[in-house]
Each structure stands twice: as C-alpha cells, then as structure tokens.
Symmetry: C2
Subunit: 295 residues, 2 copies
C-alpha cells in the first residue's frame, strides 16, 4: 500500500513538488532549481529529487522517495530520448512523465471535461472531451502560436519597421521600439535574425501598455493576436462542444480577455487549482487504490 504521492511541475526556471496522501490532500509543497530535461537532464534529475525530499520535509515526514509514486509534468516531454533518460533515473516507486499542459489542465478543470489555453511566450490549448485529451498549437512562433507573446513582440518590431518605411503611421509604440534600437532599422534586423521566442516576448508588455493608451499600432497588433486566439478557441470548442470549463493560463491570461470575442470571453472561468495540484492529483488517480482515487 502506498501512503504518499508526489506531483512535480518542472520547467526551465524552477522545479516544484507537492506531497499528498491517498485522499489527494496536499501535505507539503516545495521548490528547487531548474529542471529542463532537454538542456541539462542530470541537473533536472537532481532538482526533481531535491524538490520531492523538501516536500516530505515541509509535511513533517521523513523523506522516502522509493516508496512514493509520482506524476511529473515536464516541458520537453515530447522528446523521446530525454524522457527515456530521465524516466530510467527517477528515484520514485513508479513514475509517469506527462506534459506541463496535462498537469495544468488537471489542475484547472479537475476531472471533468473542459479545456485550457496556455497563453504565454508560446500558446498551446488542451481540451478533454469524453475523457480523451486533445492538444492544439504549441509548435513555436515561426509557423504556429498565433497570438503568443513571441508573436506579439515580433509584430511590434515589424510594425516599427513598417512605420520607419512610411508604410504605416509612426505611433508611440513604434517610436519607442525604434528608439530602443538606436533608431537604426539594421539593428532591428540583426536582433530579429537570431531572436528566440523569449527575446521577442520582451517587447510584449510594451504592446499592452501602449494599447491601453489608445496606440493605433498596439491595438492593431493585439487585435491580430486575439483573432489568432479566438480561432484556436473555436477549434477547442468544436472538440469540447463548448462544454465544461474554459480557462486561460500563462503570463498573458490576465491581459488578453478584453481583446477576445465575446463568445469566448463570456465562457472563461478561473482555474480550480494550479498545475502542481494537477500533477499530484494525477499521481493519486494513477497509483492510488481505486477507493482513494477521487482527487
């Protein structure tokens, strides 16, 4: 019989763990360092074990990882080699590695059908219908993730060059962005050539800030982004038949709703719980005794 269950929410900046009993009641939470299984799997393994031990300690229980089953939500879970390497070296009784989106879904909507949209530097949508999971978008800013922070930042840079070229009006946003590049479009081009999603995303707060002031270019960019999110949510609704919760998560979740179509805005609700709670609930469901699996 298993006494304790571990949930892990691991990513590039930190690794969080939660310990629950067989009822799914969370007894302790903790946090350690980065756990990116793609770029540094050994450090990720170290931080996963550290976070799990700390969660036991937080709960006032002597850590015993080999006795505890775990569900881990990890970015990069779709890269087989990294997953196999980490899976084989985890210190838990049993363990399952799922995507960060899957634990976020479980946390946000619990066991019912419904969907989430994670709207941050990238975008990904996860829907559950008749218990089956569906994932939409999340392929990166070059050819996907319309409306993501990376896309908004990229559009802001594009807008500033269009203004420089007298193709679009020069607005406060474009002026501010060009000023950051010394008013030299070649600096924008040099930046864009190598920009990673997070590099573009750094310009996204400025877009929301200028849009609030009525900046024409900023509003155009956000309307373009919102249209991309609206059509993805339409696809999500086609899967769920618009049943159950619909939650937006991620850094842009609080900022976007006012730009979305009314049909989506009116359906949005707050997540029930966070991704870490989702992970530990999944661990209880997967490895708890049938009578315990209620989380």
């Amino acid at each position: 019989m298993v006494d304790y269950f571990i949930g892990i929410d691991g990513g590039g900046t930190s690794c969080r763990a939660a310990l629950a009993n067989g009822n799914g009641t969370i007894l302790g939470r903790s946090k350690s360092g980065a756990s990116n299984i793609l770029t540094d799997p050994d450090t990720a393994l170290k931080h996963i074990a550290e976070a799990a031990r700390l969660a036991f300690e937080e709960a006032g229980i002597t850590p015993d990882l080999p006795s505890a089953p775990a569900v881990l939500g990890l970015a990069g879970n779709n890269v087989g080699d990294a997953v196999n390497y980490v899976q084989a070296r985890l210190p838990f009784k049993q363990s399952e590695i799922v995507s960060d989106g899957v634990i976020a879904l479980q946390g946000a909507i619990g066991d019912e059908d419904g969907a989430i949209g994670i709207v941050g530097t990238g975008t990904v949508y996860i829907a559950r219908h008749d218990g089956k999971l569906h994932s939409i978008a999340g392929w990166g800013f070059q050819v996907s993730d319309l409306g993501s922070g990376a896309r908004l930042g990229q559009l802001a840079l594009q807008e500033s060059l269009l203004a420089y070229d007298t193709i679009r009006p020069m607005t406060g946003l474009s002026k501010a962005i060009l000023a950051e590049f010394g008013n030299n479009p070649e600096n924008v081009v040099d930046f864009a050539r190598l920009a990673k999603p997070g590099d573009y995303g750094r310009y996204t707060p400025k877009v929301f800030e200028y849009a609030r002031q009525g900046d024409e270019a900023a509003i155009r960019i956000l309307n373009t982004g919102a249209a991309g999110i609206d059509e993805a949510l339409d696809a999500v609704n086609a899967i769920t038949r618009s049943k159950g919760r619909l939650c937006l998560l991620g850094g842009l979740a609080p900022l976007y709703p006012e730009y979305l179509a009314e049909r989506h805005r009116s359906r949005l609700s707050e997540p029930l719980a966070d991704a870490l709670t989702g992970a530990v609930a999944l661990a209880v469901k997967a490895y708890g005794s049938p009578s315990e699996a209620r989380a």
Copy 2:
C-alpha cells in the same frame, strides 16, 4: 577621354557585365560566376573582372579594364566593410558600388521619376522623386518584406499546421505540404526553426498553383501577401505622388498583379530595360563627358 564604360550586375549566383560606348550603346554583354561580396569577396572580385573582360571580348575589343570606369550593382552593398574591401581592389579606372536595387531602378524607368518593386524571395521598393532615391522595406522576412516569397512560403507552412490543428479547414495545399513533411508537424517545426528565406520560398510556387485551382488557403495566403504589397505601393505612391512608371520586377512579378488592388494594377508597366542596362547607363552618366551623358 574615356572610350568605354562597364556596368556590373552581381549577385549570389552569377555576375553579369555590359560594355557601352560614350553614347550608352551597349557593345557587349557577358556572364561569369557568383559575386557575393559578403560571403566570398575574393571570388567576387575574380568574377567581376572576368565578366568585364568577357564583355570587352564579346564586343570584339581588346580588354582594358584600367581604362574603363564602372558602376557595380551588388547585393550586400549596405555592409561597409565588404564594400571597402572590394572597392579598394577593383581593376577599373574609377568605380562606384551601388545596390542591386539602384541599377534595377535605372534599367526599369530610365532617368525619369518613378518606382520599382522587386518582388522575389524578399521585397524591396525603390522610388525616385525629383531625382532623389527612396528605399522601402527589404529588411528580411522575420520582421519585414510582407508578401515576399519567403513570407508566402512561411504562411503556407503555418496554414498547414493550423489545418492539422483543426483551426482552419484542411485544403489541398495544406494536405500537400503536410505530405511533404511525412504528415508529421514536428518535421515542419524542425524545418521552420532553421529555414532561410530561400527555404521558405521553395513552397511559394505551390501557393500560386493551388490558388489557381481555387484552394481557399492558398487564396487567403496570396490575399495576405498582396495586402502587404499594396500598402507598400501606397507608401511608394505617396513619395512619387503616383507620377512616372511603376514596375514590378523579380520572380513573383508576373504572378502577383491579379491579386493586387486595382489602383496599383492599372498603373503597372513593363520595365524599359534590365538591371545590367541600368548599371552601364549609370556608369556613362557618372563618368562620361557631359555631352555624352544621355543614357
């Protein structure tokens, strides 16, 4: 007194040269190998000299480069270091390095005011008003060059992922593109991560091909691209006050007009001559005696 003038049109795949007399009459044309001054300036110098010698020979004249002034239209002319290196080593009497766009403008519209749009893998627009040159766009596909071949190909890949994700309808174009990637979106993502403009541009002929068959996605992509070109041409017209010739050049020039706004389509005319003719005309204008400068 100078007897002969050289024009050079050099790029990544070949270097072309023309020889003219003081009236601007072209006496010989020729072609040699690649002359990319950014990636391989020494080879570029070799091929420039070779093309010039061959142009003399074509004209039946003993080559004498040190006696002939030249104007060279070279891609990469905006990178100072490369230009200085090449400029100091050219074999001509005098020489000026200008952009490939400037010689194309001269060839297409002659000495009058007017404008060209070069619509190929990238896009750039060059306008002449009251004798002064203005350049618009050409900053690359990441943050500029809306409607370029690179952009159209990128949109085609994006469209195929949107269709895969059930966000947009699956059309023949998206089906054909996904099939090229083994129907695995991760292959599209891997490709897009490192794709250069020309890599994306390889998918552009397919977009025009499917649009001709009525494919909804292909038509949407071309309308998006054409809107980008339309607004750039509006900016061009604001500079030229819609006076003089307006010519489209580049690989997509024959394909795009039917998608453009009527206000632009009705103004388009055929170029008077090619870029090489423009280069040699500029050489006669710059270095010929005043009475000769009529080309």
